[in-house]
């Protein structure tokens, strides 16, 4: 795990040019401790954000918003670029392993690819992937295929080189919210509105099994409608566990009265390993989940009041051991390659960068 401390320091003082660091002797300011998580930078946009991602090399932070654009910040310089071309909100991103190419999915059903090394990137590939929203996009571990899912109830696999459809997986009966490659590269998982997780065998092109996450949906009798779906989906780095973020205990979904939940499943057996929920006073949606290389789990969510929280869970524990209050709803979460920084897309229109170490106090000269 590499630590890019110079970038972190740069991020920690975007406005206090005259400040000097106040370092306590004997304190390891690089030691990772989620309890010490603190904000170090803010990247502002003008409208609420919907999602975020950071590239695997830690150079680019991207966010979708309640507009038609993709917002790209250079992590080091904090300069911002805007990518235009989508016809709807962008909800999901993925990056190539070298961080140079961005893939984006929008509610209009399109998938686009962008070369971020260009000064003013234009879409270099557009796939009309789904009828209705394209809710999710993921790049295969071997970097040759894209997986997408959408409101046409389909999961699709695309050839990255030419944008051609390779496989289409039918079987979901409600909108498909998220899709993810297993690290073995041989399987895909997808989760729909009703908490049905299908596992697709990429060799046979067929569904190999299903996992029951039906606790992550609820029927609101008063309004006669279902609410649910995966709002984030990620495998543990070794592929032994699947984490999915969303909701449970729907009481009045039209007013946002339900509980956030992060569920963990054993990949081999498909059995539930944990149901993680924040304090019961926090009602809303879990919008993000990430496995930290050190083994702990990070979640992010939005309360119906508009506040947000970050949650931290140690391996094999059944509850979060630390919660950090956030000033605004968290709508997306990602982890930088230095393993010390988190980014959160907030409903108040900014990406916040948080550092999971002892805070270096600043003082004025």
């Amino acid at each position: 795990m590499s630590v890019n401390n110079s970038e972190a320091v740069a991020a920690s003082k975007p406005v206090l040019n005259d400040a000097v660091e106040a370092r306590k002797p004997g304190v390891d300011y690089d030691a990772i401790d989620p309890v010490k998580t603190h904000k170090v930078a803010e990247l502002k946009h003008t409208v609420p954000l919907t999602s975020c991602r950071v590239d695997p090399t830690g150079r680019f932070i991207v966010a979708g918003a309640e507009d038609l654009d993709i917002h790209v910040w250079d992590y080091e310089s904090k300069t911002k670029r805007t990518l235009k071309g989508h016809t709807s909100w962008v909800r999901s991103f993925d990056f190539s392993a070298d961080g140079n190419t961005l893939y984006s999915a929008c509610w209009g059903g399109d998938i686009k690819a962008w070369n971020l090394l260009d000064t003013e990137p234009k879409s270099k590939l557009t796939i009309q992937a789904h009828q209705g929203s394209a809710r999710w996009v993921r790049l295969s571990p071997d970097q040759t295929k894209l997986a997408t899912c959408g409101n046409d109830l389909l999961v699709k696999l695309w050839d990255l080189e030419n944008g051609k459809l390779l496989q289409s997986f039918a079987g979901h009966e409600r909108h498909v919210y998220a899709v993810e490659f297993h690290p073995d590269g041989k399987h895909l998982v997808s989760q729909d509105l009703m908490g049905v997780i299908h596992v697709w065998d990429l060799h046979s092109g067929k569904k190999s099994r299903s996992i029951d996450a039906s606790v992550m949906t609820g029927y609101d009798k008063k309004f006669a409608a279902d609410m649910g779906g995966a709002r984030d989906l990620q495998f543990s780095p070794d592929g032994s566990e699947l984490a999915t973020a969303g909701i449970t205990n729907v009481v009045n979904s039209f007013a946002g009265v339900q509980d956030p939940i992060i569920m963990l499943f054993d990949w081999k057996t498909g059995q539930e390993k944990a149901k993680l929920k924040p304090d019961k006073t926090f009602q809303g949606i879990a919008w993000g989940v990430r496995y930290h290389p050190d083994g702990f789990l990070i979640g992010a969510g939005a309360d119906r009041s508009g506040k947000g929280e970050l949650w931290f869970r140690k391996p094999d524990e059944s509850e979060f051991y630390h919660t950090m209050k956030l000033p605004a709803a968290a709508r997306g979460l990602d982890l930088l390659n230095d393993a010390r920084h988190l980014i959160v897309a907030h409903s108040h229109g900014a990406v916040h960068i948080y550092r999971m170490t002892e805070e270096e106090k600043q003082k004025q000269v």
């Binding site: 929008c106 509610w107 909108h175 509105l193 409608a225 007013a255 009041s305």
Partner: protein
């Protein structure tokens, strides 16, 4: 079955006057065939209303007045319709292909964001006061004298009870069906032969007559109306007993709304005067976009199939179609991805009997935050509904020598919307 009494002191003294320009009796035709052959039977019959009520307040931005790419436009795009130049939300692809049957009013300002106030204003055409709903007015002035079905039927999956008839009398009050389930006790009690039931009814009427002599008609009319409507339904219980055809369910959908709309079609085919179908689930203070995807996805195809069937049966020309809510939803998107109550600048769609098809009335500003042109409210709409049906809404209800204006005298119909 829930029965709304809606009974006031003046209920039972309304003189029936033929001041209706277009009301007509006509022969009754009962059929469960569901086939276009019904068209000939219903042609030339009385005018009716199909109300599709999107309860909770459908978002105008996700339906009739999309503003993609603007500050509050949301994630959905606008799509062209069968009317050149008219665009609606991409959440309504089936309806879009049928907009040549419909028109949109995009400039409604109710000046209220309250569910009850909005609903009552939209139904009564008045902000306050005991006035009848448009369905009850239709029942009063359009239902044939010997109608074989209650004049105002509401199919819903849950119960909001409104006083709908006001002074028009209990027989014009809304009769509510909880979905397609048959009303309770529709069949005669076991062991009671029809002849005995008739004798029982005659005895009840005899008691009523004696009671009326001493207490006046008002005290018994409500009960009479209930019994009469129950009798009508008992003779039509096959409506509920016969399951819909598979091909109809395939077209309309197997969900509650699909089944409710199939029942509405049957009732309209059989000369019901006003049939209201409520589709719940639009009060989306959170997750507005996912919920509108789900709800309008259900509404769009089902409603379109019903519209097709009315058209194919030749019934559309005599059926006023209303797709409406109690208000719209805020342009501003809240922190829960919700939109809140918004009566300030929103839309409905109308079509069929007496309505100019393919029109867009009024306009909101670029962000949808205010009406920009041709502001109207529910008073104007109320006049428009009734005049489209041939009812002179500027006339009065005559109630025991007292005149009560049918429509709000301060409002006028939207004349350019009338065919």
């Amino acid at each position: 079955m829930q029965r709304n009494q809606g009974c006031q002191q003046l209920d039972h003294r309304v003189a029936r006057r033929q001041f209706l320009a277009g009301a007509a009796g006509g022969a009754l035709a009962f059929s469960l065939s569901g086939s276009p052959a019904v068209a000939e039977q219903v042609n030339g019959q009385h005018k009716r209303i199909l109300q599709v009520y999107l309860q909770g307040g459908v978002s105008q931005l996700e339906s009739w007045d999309p503003k993609p790419g603007t500050e509050f436009g949301g994630p959905f795009r606008a799509i062209p319709t069968s009317v050149p130049g008219m665009h609606i939300s991409e959440l309504l692809p089936y309806t879009a292909q049928r907009m040549h049957h419909l028109s949109i009013v995009r400039s409604i300002n109710l000046k209220t964001n309250d569910h009850t106030q909005g609903r009552l204003f939209m139904e009564k055409g008045r902000r306050a006061g005991e006035y009848p709903y448009v369905g009850s007015v239709a029942s009063r002035y359009l239902a044939p004298a010997k109608a074989e079905l209650p004049g105002y039927i509401h199919i819903s999956t849950r119960g909001l009870n409104d006083s709908t008839a006001a002074f028009l009398g209990a027989r014009h009050a809304q009769l509510k069906f909880l979905g397609v389930n048959p009303p309770k006790n529709l069949s005669l009690p076991k062991g009671l032969p029809p002849t005995a039931a008739e004798r029982r009814m005659a005895l009840r009427q005899q008691f009523n007559s004696q009671f009326q002599a001493g207490h006046g008609k008002a005290m018994t009319e409500t009960f009479d109306a209930s019994f009469q409507q129950a009798e009508k339904l008992m003779s039509r219980k096959t409506f509920f007993e016969k399951p819909p055809a598979d091909k109809d369910l395939e077209r309309y959908g197997k969900h509650d709304f699909g089944r409710n709309c199939l029942l509405a079609r049957t009732l309209l085919e059989n000369n019901a005067t006003c049939v209201k179908v409520t589709h719940h689930g639009y009060d989306s203070h959170a997750e507005n976009f996912n919920f509108h995807l789900e709800q309008l996805g259900e509404f769009d195809k089902t409603f379109s199939m019903l519209l097709d069937d009315l058209h194919e049966r030749g019934m559309l020309e005599s059926t006023l179609v209303m797709i409406y809510s109690e208000f719209g939803r805020t342009p501003k998107i809240n922190v829960r991805y919700g939109r809140d109550h918004w009566g300030t600048a929103w839309s409905i769609a109308l079509g069929g009997c007496g309505i100019q098809p393919g029109a867009i009335i009024g306009k909101t500003n670029e962000k949808g935050t205010a009406v920009a042109e041709r502001e109207v409210d529910a008073g104007h709409l109320f006049h428009t509904y009734l005049q489209a049906l041939g009812i002179d809404s500027t006339r009065d209800h005559e109630i025991a020598g007292r005149s009560v204006p049918i429509g709000d005298p301060a409002a006028q119909p939207i004349k350019e919307l009338l065919a």
